[in-house]
Symmetry: C2
Subunit: 203 residues, 2 copies
């Protein structure tokens, strides 16, 4: 009996390093697929359909939105971006795990629409380290860094809506923990009702 | 900040191989301690106090029972056996994980008294295999095997009261899964409230 895949939602304050952890997980696990977003922005040179994005017109996007097709969506600088439910569903049904790397607001929307997901909150080891990471981006003023830091600090409260907390002091170790979380989640009784019936049915 | 250990309860129908899995886990993890039971039976030659058991008189056992000291206890052939709460607590507080290998009735009693435990239900890969394992013990009549098989079959229903289901088709793989479960449980948000506060407190 083939087990359905898991939707892994990697989230956390900016500066937590969730992108790096996500890349590490993808490089280790051929069965793990990155969620592909739908966007209304124009493809850049070299970008192909269903590569980094599914490209749709604004009208098409709005229709998908009305049909409840998005697990979450957001507008960024005039373009829309959304996570398509059908893509995720297809991957999960074919037995692949899907990872979605997303900010906290987006993750909470996904949680409302897909509560079977595995919600992991990634944090830097200390707030000092968070501040350092925000600074070393080097592209922002002191005031901008402070604003981002304060926002990240407030966002820590949302951890209580997540299933797991992973401290990203070492990318490899953080990835180990998330792989363990996926293995454990596959063993959860609530995800194995079918198996239990199946085992009894062998008689 | 030192994290408290986990109480791992390994349980399942007889013939599931939980003893073998438990030994494998103990041999891999120096931080994992086997729960030591209290018993009223006399020590056998070579058995020392706090080795396989804590040896107590019947009166002492009954007093411990009245004081609510046992996570579970049972009478077997006129002797009492119990899992002492204080031993488990001390190990957990010092950061060690504790494993308790126990039958289903015992595990459910522990669950009523210690709901923070991690309850893992171990099953053989198929009911055919369960029947084969019960038979190859070779010490029982066909009728006894059938009775044990029927009991094991009924016991499968109790899986719904557990957190995790692990299929023991391969001892090493089953142990991998349980190690992943322990790692994942340490990351659960509900076990890390203190850490969250601690992180915010750094500011």
């Amino acid at each position: 009996m083939k087990q359905e895949g898991l939707l892994l939602v990697l989230s956390g304050p900016s500066g937590a390093g969730k992108g790096t952890v996500c890349k590490e997980l993808l490089s280790r696990n051929p069965n793990l697929r990155l969620s592909t977003s739908v966007t209304t922005r124009a493809p850049r040179p070299g970008e192909v359909e269903a590569g980094s994005y599914f490209f749709r017109t604004r009208d098409e996007f709005m229709q998908m939105r009305e049909e409840g097709e998005f697990l979450e969506y957001a507008e960024v600088y005039g373009n829309f971006y959304g996570t398509p439910r059908s893509f995720v569903r297809e991957q999960l049904l074919s037995g692949h795990d899907v990872v979605l790397e997303i900010d906290i607001q987006g993750a909470l929307k996904v949680k409302d629409r897909f509560e079977d997901g595995v919600f992991v909150f990634i944090v830097p080891p200390t707030l000092e380290e968070l501040k350092r990471r925000l600074k070393t981006r080097g592209t922002e003023t002191e005031e901008q860094v402070l604003r981002r830091f304060n926002a990240a600090y407030e966002e820590l409260n949302f951890v209580l809506r997540y299933n797991y907390l992973v401290i990203n002091d070492d990318v490899s170790l953080a990835a180990d923990k998330i792989e363990a979380i996926l293995m454990a989640e596959r063993c959860r009784v609530i995800r194995n009702r079918g198996l239990h019936e199946c085992l009894k049915g062998v008689l």
